[in-house]
């Protein structure tokens, strides 16, 4: 700017410079001081003009005051300094040659107006800015609220729509909010739920730790816990839940709320219970089944010091007969009634009854007093069976045999206990049934051996543990060896040689008798062939083989025998099959048919152990039998001298009868020469016994036959 030195413009510029230097330090402008001076220069001009105007207008002062605010001189100090400048320099630099007194008055009035204008402008600016910032704050809150609203709406939808029950409570347990799923689970309205306290929701089935976990959580010692918990619904039903409770903390980490998430597991639980029930209960009687019983027995046997157990193993006597004669449906109804009666016998705590299968039941009692209690329990059971059971209009009398095992916990396994009970029950049954017996270790041991033999039998045949001994059959007339009886033996790896009385009944029971019998027959027939080949001169030797009742009814008997004879290439008359008298008692034609066919082929049939059963002499006629073997009980009585004349008469009569029916008579158990002589006199045909030879290997018979031939 070019101005005439000390001319009006120059003087105005100097005023503006002074002004800007005074005010600049207290402004907030981001302009530089020279820039700020440029802003003040027009204001200075206006003041200058107003000072010297023909007509004075103080409003110019107001405008300048307002303009200061616009130039960001908002600090009151800026006004103060501006007024100081105007007061000191305006008239001096801009007054010109006017009346000094008048100029001073005008300058003063301009200052008043500037102050008013500044104040007004500052007030307006302040209000405007306050309004602007409040509007901004409101708007921002609106934006945030909207965003929050959207988020909240989403969360609310999740909360409300969740299939899982959600509830929020404060740390005192007051319920603040619940979602729809939770209301439906509890069957309560939101209002009703919100008036409740979490701690009211105790339930008898609460696990012991449930409320301890709760306390820890509300104290802030635990962040969350998970339990299975039951709740009572207002309708009295039970709600089962998988419950997860979490602690919610505020921004400073202080515990604030508890959040519960609940899954309704009632149905699943019921299903589980039902499945568990079905897996552990007998479908027919509803009693606990074998699985359940074993669990309980195991628990009872695992109980601590001083605890005992008592077990009654019940098997109904003659149930098979009822089943066979009245049918399974009737049998089932009988079992249901028995089950009901047994159930009523075991009502005390620690007692239970279970059905193991078929007509086998067990009752268990536990505690420290079972020594006495188990006897009472058995007596109650026997008593419960006394009254006849009505099935299909028939009054059936049911009896049972009970094996009792009682003892301290912690000594035996469930299987051992049950086996002992089983054995004892059989003992009761063999003693005639309708009774109970107490387990006896010695009887157990015997039975356990029998049990062991039974299980070892099948492999024994495969392993070749059986062998055959032969006992000669001697002709009483001339003392010659006419044949031998084949007697099977078992060379048991642990028990040594076992006689047929030890294992044949077991083999009968398990059905192994059929393959075993076939094996014996085959071996014996081969042996007979060997003898015939080697000692053709010694006469036609015959082999006697025993047939068990089971073999007798086996449909393959005839075919097997024929096959073996043919394979061996030997005549049927080299074979005699021995059948016990008891096996043929009441035999009908069907049973006799295979024997008849064998007899027709030429196989001899001997009636073994004759005289032990209820011998039906009249029946002898229709049996396809050619030999009678008198039981050893007849010969035993002849060991003393003189022999009992009655016995002698009986034997004589039998022999006479036999001969008249064209039967030959063999006697067993001959032990002395006197016996042999007596029997010869009575007319017996052949004999066997220790007097001649004990059963032995086939070679011994060979020797015996040679002796006989040479002697």
């Amino acid at each position: 700017m070019s101005a005439e030195p000390d001319g009006p413009e120059d003087r105005l510029r100097r005023f503006a410079t002074i002004w800007s230097r005074a005010v600049f330090p207290v402004t907030s402008t981001s302009s530089t001081r020279p820039e700020f001076e440029e802003q003040l220069l027009p204001l200075a001009g206006r003041l200058s003009d107003a000072l010297r105007a023909r007509t004075f207008d103080a409003d110019e002062g107001r405008a300048v005051g307002a303009a200061l605010v616009t130039a960001h001189c908002t600090d009151p100090e800026a006004l103060s300094r501006s007024l100081d400048c105007v007061d000191a320099y305006l008239v001096l630099y801009c007054g010109g040659s006017g009346d000094q007194q008048d100029l001073r008055v005008r300058a003063s009035r301009l200052q008043h107006a500037m102050a008013a204008g500044f104040a007004q402008a500052l007030r307006e600016r302040t209000l405007a800015e306050q309004e602007a910032i409040s509007a901004a704050a409101l708007k921002a809150q609106g934006v945030v609220a909207q965003a929050l609203h959207a988020t909240e709406a989403r969360f609310r939808a999740v909360f409300e729509g969740a299939a899982i029950g959600i509830g929020i409570a404060d740390l005192e347990g007051n319920i603040l909010q619940v979602n729809g799923a939770l209301q439906r689970m509890f069957g309560l309205s939101e209002q009703a739920m919100r008036s409740r306290n979490v701690m009211e929701w105790t339930h008898p089935e609460d696990a012991p730790q449930t409320w301890r976990l709760y306390d820890e959580l509300v104290c802030g010692e635990r962040e969350h816990y998970h339990v299975e918990k039951a709740f009572s619904r207002p309708d009295g039903t039970v709600l089962w839940t998988n419950l997860t409770v979490s602690l919610l903390r505020d921004a400073d980490g202080n515990p604030q709320y508890q959040l519960a998430l609940m899954e309704d597991t009632t149905e699943r639980r019921l299903l589980n219970l039902r499945l568990r029930y079905e897996a552990t209960h007998d479908a027919l009687t509803g009693l606990p089944n074998r699985t359940f019983f074993f669990e309980r027995l195991e628990k009872a046997l695992g109980a601590g010091q001083g605890q005992r157990f008592g077990l009654c193993y019940l098997d109904l006597d003659g149930f098979k007969t009822i089943n066979d004669s009245l049918g399974h449906a009737a049998g089932d109804r009988l079992l249901v009634e028995v089950a009901d009666r047994l159930q009523s016998c075991t009502t005390a705590p620690g007692e239970m009854v279970a059905r193991l299968g078929g007509d086998e039941f067990v009752a268990l009692t536990t505690g420290p007093e079972t020594e006495r209690e188990v006897d009472e329990l058995a007596a109650r059971i026997m008593n419960a069976l006394v009254a006849p059971i009505s099935v299909d209009g028939r009054e059936l009398t049911v009896r049972g045999s009970i094996g009792i095992v009682e003892g301290p916990a912690g000594e035996r396994s469930p299987a051992e206990v049950l086996r002992s009970a089983d054995i004892t029950m059989y003992r009761a049954k063999s003693a005639g049934g309708n009774r109970f017996e107490l387990a006896d270790p010695e009887a157990d041991a015997r039975a356990i051996t029998r049990h062991g033999l039974t299980t070892a039998l099948p492999t024994a045949l495969d392993r070749g543990e059986f062998f055959i001994e032969y006992q000669p059959l001697v002709h009483l007339g001339d003392g010659s060896v006419r044949g031998a009886e084949a007697l099977v033996r078992w060379l048991h790896p642990q028990h040594g040689v076992l006689g047929p009385d030890r294992f044949i009944p077991l083999a009968e029971h398990t059905g192994l008798i059929v393959p075993l019998g076939r094996w014996v027959l085959e071996q014996s027939v081969r042996q007979a062939r060997d003898w015939r080949e080697r000692h053709a001169d010694a006469g036609p030797l015959r082999i006697n083989v025993n047939l068990s009742p089971c073999q007798l009814t086996h449909p393959g008997l005839v075919q097997d025998t024929v096959d073996i004879l043919e394979r061996t290439g030997i005549e049927p008359d080299a074979l005699c099959l021995e059948v016990t008298e008891s096996a043929l008692i009441g035999a009908d034609d069907d049973l006799l048919k295979p024997l008849r066919r064998l007899a027709e082929m030429g196989v001899d049939i001997a009636l073994d152990d004759f005289g032990t059963g209820y011998s039906n002499l009249a029946n002898l006629r229709r049996l396809p039998v050619s030999i009678l073997k008198l039981d050893r009980s007849f010969t035993q009585s002849m060991q003393q001298f003189p022999a009992d004349p009655v016995d002698l008469k009986i034997v004589e009569g039998i022999v006479s009868l036999a001969h008249s029916l064209n039967l030959t008579v063999t006697v067993e158990g001959v032990e002395t020469g006197a016996q042999a002589e007596q029997l010869r006199i009575l007319g017996c045909d052949t004999a066997q016994g220790w007097y001649y030879a004990r059963p032995g290997p086939p070679d011994r018979l060979h020797e015996l036959a040679l002796v006989d031939a040479t002697g």
Partner: protein, 270 residues
């Protein structure tokens, strides 16, 4: 719908805001009593705070003009706060009509106010975002609309990095932004520091404590630490210097001594 009792409120004007405190220092009335109270407390320790803020504004103004002189017409101002006067868009659009300006702040009130101020200005806009999440800034529709990242940009980080704690990795954020800029872009940065304050350090510490109290810690960094923000930039003359010493328009002796507090610098991407 009823607001759940546990839902947090996210705008709380009862909590002081650094943007509004800044406005108060600059003589504005875009503030509330809580802000003024905090500002007054801070000023008890450092009465020259308004001068420091003024120096910030002044150096920013000089730097924007420098950028316009360099041919830059796009400005990204992060941590812009409450627009009072002498804002980037005013300075830039005065020097280069039509220059594009995008303001960024994480204070929703500052953003709302900026929207009001910028209403009708098509070349300027504001983004509610956080310096600590540069990708959100760069991906915002406003930046997409107004800033062409293939051309040089002036990135302004004026009086903002000293509010980002090391735990939030300010260096990483600055580097991420740098990597998004075209060659020839400028970084305009000012930062608080104990260095240059014309008072004993314990006075400045009093101010730092006030900011800590309002949960907006003020992180004072050394010149060396501030210089590390310019990694990958070539420093523009005169380098990283006290604010008033950066390309001053007037003789430094005219400046208030507080204007030499903290540092200012401009860097250029290669």
């Amino acid at each position: 719908m009823e607001r759940p009792a546990w839902a947090p409120r996210s705008i709380d004007i009862s909590v002081p805001s650094v943007s509004r405190i800044y406005d108060y220092y600059l003589g504005g009335s875009h503030n509330f009593e809580v802000d003024r109270e905090a500002a007054r407390k801070a000023m008890e320790f450092l009465p020259g705070l308004p001068k420091i803020m003024q120096a910030n504004r002044a150096v920013m103004r000089r730097a924007v003009r420098f950028a316009v002189d360099e041919g830059i017409t796009q400005f990204l101002d992060i941590g812009s706060g409450i627009p009072t006067f002498g804002n980037v868009h005013e300075v830039a659009q005065e020097a280069s009509p039509g220059a594009h300006v995008v303001y960024v702040d994480h204070d929703p009130v500052a953003v709302a106010h900026s929207q009001a101020v910028l209403a009708g200005n098509d070349a300027a806009d504001v983004v509610a975002a956080d310096l600590r999440k540069p990708q959100e800034i760069l991906a915002s529709p406003q930046v997409q609309r107004l800033i062409d990242l293939n051309r040089p940009v002036a990135l302004l980080l004026v009086a903002v990095l000293h509010f980002v704690e090391d735990a939030d990795d300010p260096y990483g954020a600055v580097a991420e932004l740098r990597d998004a800029l075209a060659p020839g872009s400028l970084l305009v940065l000012t930062h608080a520091s104990y260095e240059g304050i014309p008072l004993p350090p314990e006075r400045a510490e009093g101010t730092v404590a006030v900011y800590k109290d309002i949960r907006n810690p003020l992180i004072m960094r050394s010149r060396e630490e501030i210089a590390r923000f310019f990694e990958g930039y070539d420093m523009v003359e005169p380098g990283l210097v006290p604010m008033a010493a950066w390309r001053p328009d007037t003789a430094p002796e005219d400046e208030d001594p507080h204007a030499f507090s903290g540092f200012a610098g401009v860097g250029r991407t290669a």
